[in-house]
Each structure stands twice: as structure tokens, then as C-alpha cells.
Symmetry: C2
Subunit: 310 residues, 2 copies
């Protein structure tokens, strides 16, 4: 997984470009790297001229990061701190920049956003920079007959036995997978934008309306969510998208299968809302509620579906 | 994972064939299914004419299995018991057959073998049948320059930084992956055979010598372990192999990368021993020690390497 993330060049190269192409942001600045992992982002910042970088990592990777920083001759610039951001102490009063790669699947699954916001409120100087500072969640709809047949309807007949009760469970679990852009049958709708430099932790829970208009006659088997992040404090806007029309990342997309197959004609709209909140028992799980209705020429459907990402 | 295992047709079809083609084993017999999951093996047994099947499953899948048994009209034959095999009570004194799909990666990783042996000693009638009753572990050696370069040497230069300290960790972790049979450069050596109907739990820890003779001039980057299981109580011998020359299964193979690249000439032998034991702190982890030496025309190597599967 560690290597998969580093080899995700959309992810790692974007951070590298943001840092190397915007050295003016880092020159003589103190940086805090939240969830530093191997320390790669801290090393990028050090190489870009940061005065000092505090790399905070709570897992055993912190020991590796220390070795890596030393092996690369940056011990005088990068200090690795092993611990939780909520518990560590920094030897400075404030930092100028907070950098983090905190995003999870579906942006919010098992994410470190709350740690970034905590770090921001406690350690970031007034007017300091958060990288990235914008994240947005998008929704679209796809035709996916083959996959739904293969993965969901599979349970109807398993070596001759009816296991359809598992189907109900299976459909409630969002699937992280790569969607072919040719499957997209509607527009893409912006659901929610988060301003990481200003938002409150609670803002990651939201309800957002959507309207997905069919761009062709087709069948809709699933809605697909994905996110973009951007770095608006760069010389020019930088960022990346994890959408099905962009270069693939390790985040892929998140597929929410519908109980019904919707028969849509070009121009017809699926209207509804998506509600997203951390699960109350396990805050690292994400509860998703989807309300949708279609008043189509061929069929009318209105339904509420619940999903849990875990 | 559940679906991946069911769709592994080498696995599931072999069990199905063992049961459906050997109805004489099940006729009027009481069966205990250890780690029943969805209950698929229990249903096979019921359909094959078992008098009664006790399906023991400790996870939440037990609730699903109950629903599935009911939906398929086998409630009078299959009883699902939710709990650990070590804790449940059966309404019968003894069972005639114990069936289980207990094998993990590398046969022994996170396996349920101890539960099967416990069930055998507590619940199986004298002369009863264990399915499968034989499991064996095999070893061979492969050329794998590309993958080793891609996955291990990767750490030498990560976006311009030296992370080679992670390499030492990476090489100690056995890799579960599919090996192309064309990569095999030596014979395959049987390391260990286990008789599930007789063995003691401690017999899953062992030290076994091996001698791998090069079948061509080549470079050796890794040793590869895989297992076979067989059902010797069938009318004719049945079973399957998870080796690189057999049809792929979800178990794939287990690749142990060597620190050295061994330069072998046809006929030269890598001799050594493999020691396997559960980790003392976390018995579900497996510790593997590999001692090997090559007295080759081109190089001489002798080394001890430790691996941990977790």
C-alpha cells in the first residue's frame, strides 16, 4: 500500500510539482507535515528551501522516516516526531505552512482531515498556508450491467444455492473501483466543496442535492463519487482529480450500486440528495444516505438507500 | 474476499466434486463443518445425503448462513451454530466427518488448522473422516529480475530520495503473488506433508531440508512456496495444487525474495533448510527462517534470512 501510494504518480508528482514549482512559498518558512509516512513530502519541502520541517507520523513508519531523512542528509532541516498530532509538542510557537496528504477513498473514508484541522487551529500562524486548501466531491451515474451482474446478482445462484440475502449486504457496501469513462451516462455534478483553510470539523458531514441529466438513452446501475483537490496558493492553480475522465489514481472511484436499474432517456434527470456523515459508533466508517427519484418516460422510481463504507 | 473465495473454482469445485462424487461417504452420516462461512460446504454435504450437518462459524456470517440454509430448504438437515469451535456444544456425542476449508496463504498463514485439530480430537468418532486429510508444502526457485527491480530496488531512489532502509523491511515480508511457470528455474521440492487426521497441533511447526537443482543456467531472485491438499478417502484420489504449474487459485503462491541474486548453472544445487513456526507474540503471524548455500561455478553464497508473514 505504501509503495502503491508513492507510485501513484498523479498523487506524488502533483505534490512534488506544487512544492518544487512554488519555492517562493517555502523559502525561510517553517512547515508541518501531518501524517508524514516515509517523509517524502517533508523532503520535497526541505529540498525546496524550507527553513525547517516538522514531520509528524504516529505509526512505526516514523522510525523509517527518521532513517530516510538522515540517509538523505536532511537531519538539520527535517525533524521527525513520532506521535499523534493531537499530542506532540513542537519547539516553535507556530508554523507557516501545513502540508498533508490526508485524503481517503471517497475523500472521507478513514481520512486524516480532522488531524489537519486540529493542527491548523493549534499550530498554523494567522494567514498561514494549508496545502492542499480545497477539496471537492463529485457525483455522476453509470451503466454497469456486466459488473452488477457479476458481483451483485452472483449471489442469486452460488453453485446451485440461493444466497440472495448476501446481495442486500453487498449492495450497501460502496465499491472502490476504476470506472471506464465510457460508462458515464449523465453529467457530473459538484456535491460539496471544502475549504481546508477555513472549515470546521463538522463541515465534513453534509447533505447535498444533485441533478444528474442523462446524456444518452441508457440504463443506470450505479452512482459514482470521486474527488478533486487543489492548491490555490500556488503561482498558478494546481491540483488533481480522481474522476473517471482523469488519469487513474490509487483512490480509483467509489461506486454506489442502486437496487433498481433506472431506464433513462436522453434529457431525463435523476434528482435527489446525498447525506454523508461519519458513523456514530466507528467514526472512521462513513455512512452515506442516497435519496433519488426518476420521473422517466419508461419508468418512475423513488427510493432511499443506505451505504456504509468500512 | 468472500466472493473471491467462492469464485475460486479450483477451491470450491474441488470440494463440490469431492462431496457430490463420493455420496457413499455422507449417506446417513453426521458432518461437522469447521469455519462454515456462507455454509456452502454444509449445503453440498446436505445435498449429498448427509443425515445432519453442524455448520460452525464464529463471525457475523453465521447469521447469513442461517438465512441461506433456510432459503434453500435445508433447515431440517443443516444446523448453523454461531460461535468458536472450542466453545460450542453439539447435540450429538460424536460426528462421522469433519470438513473444513481452513488453509491460509502459505498454507499456514492465519489458518484455522488448530480449530480443525481441536474439533477432530473432541468431536470426531474413532475412524471418522477428515476432509481434506492431507496437506503438503512445496518449494521451488525462480528468476524474477523485473519484479524484484520494481518492488524491492524501487526504494533505492524514490522521487530522488534514498529510502533503501525500507528495502530491508520489504525483503523480510513474503509476497503473495502469482508466479509464471516460465520463471521456475529448478526442480520443485516437497518440504513437509501433514496428515490432518493424525497430526498434533505442534506438527505445523517444522524444519525441513531442501535441495533445489537448477534445470538451466539462470539467476535466482526468490524461492517460492506453495501447497497441495488432497482427499485420500474418496473413491479415487482427489485434491488440488496451488503451485505455479496448476490453475490459479486465490491463494496464489508465496514468494520469498533473497538478498543475493544467485547465479546458477544447470545442475548446480541450492541446498538449505526452511524453518516455519507461528510467531510467539502473534500466533496468527508466521515466522520463516531460510538457510541456504550455493557452491556455484560463478559464485558462492551462504546466508540465513528471516521472514515474517503478517
Amino acid at each position: 500500500m505504501l509503495q502503491e501510494m508513492l507510485k501513484d504518480s498523479v498523487r506524488t508528482k502533483t505534490y512534488q510539482n506544487v512544492i518544487y514549482q512554488n519555492k517562493f512559498l517555502f523559502k525561510n518558512k517553517v512547515v508541518l507535515d501531518v501524517g508524514a509516512g516515509t517523509g517524502i513530502l517533508s523532503l520535497f519541502c526541505a529540498k525546496a528551501g524550507a527553513e525547517h520541517v516538522y514531520a509528524v507520523e504516529c505509526s512505526h513508519m516514523a522510525d523509517m522516516a527518521k532513517e530516510i531523512v538522515e540517509a538523505n542528509g536532511y537531519s538539520n532541516v527535517v525533524t521527525v516526531l513520532k506521535g499523534k498530532i493531537e499530542e506532540i509538542e513542537l519547539p516553535v510557537a507556530k508554523v507557516d505552512i501545513i502540508i498533508s496528504e490526508w485524503m481517503g477513498y471517497f475523500l472521507l473514508f478513514e481520512n486524516m482531515l480532522n488531524s489537519v484541522l486540529y493542527a491548523r487551529d493549534k499550530w498554523l500562524v494567522d494567514g498561514g498556508v494549508v496545502l492542499p486548501d480545497k477539496a471537492s466531491l463529485h457525483l455522476t451515474a453509470i451503466e454497469d450491467a456486466d459488473y452488477k451482474e457479476d458481483k451483485i446478482e452472483f449471489w442469486n445462484n452460488v453453485y446451485g444455492f440461493d444466497m440472495s440475502c448476501i446481495k442486500k449486504q453487498a449492495i450497501m457496501e460502496p465499491l472502490v473501483d476504476t470506472v471506464d469513462q465510457n460508462q458515464i451516462a449523465t453529467n457530473c455534478q459538484l456535491l460539496k466543496t471544502m475549504d481546508i483553510s477555513k472549515m470546521a470539523p463538522g463541515d465534513a458531514s453534509f447533505a447535498a442535492p444533485f441533478k444528474l441529466v442523462a446524456e444518452r438513452d441508457d440504463y443506470i446501475h450505479a452512482l459514482v463519487a470521486y474527488f478533486d483537490v487543489s492548491f490555490t496558493k500556488c503561482h498558478k492553480l494546481m491540483g488533481f482529480s480522481t474522476g473517471p475522465r482523469s488519469r487513474a489514481t490509487h483512490w480509483k472511484q467509489t461506486v454506489l450500486y442502486l437496487e433498481d436499474v433506472l431506464t433513462v432517456c436522453e434529457g431525463e434527470a435523476i434528482v435527489g440528495s446525498m447525506t454523508v456523515a461519519p458513523n456514530k459508533k466507528n467514526p472512521r466508517d462513513v455512512d452515506i444516505m442516497l435519496k433519488y427519484s426518476l420521473n422517466g418516460r419508461r419508468c418512475n422510481v423513488s427510493r432511499v438507500q443506505y451505504y456504509k463504507m468500512r
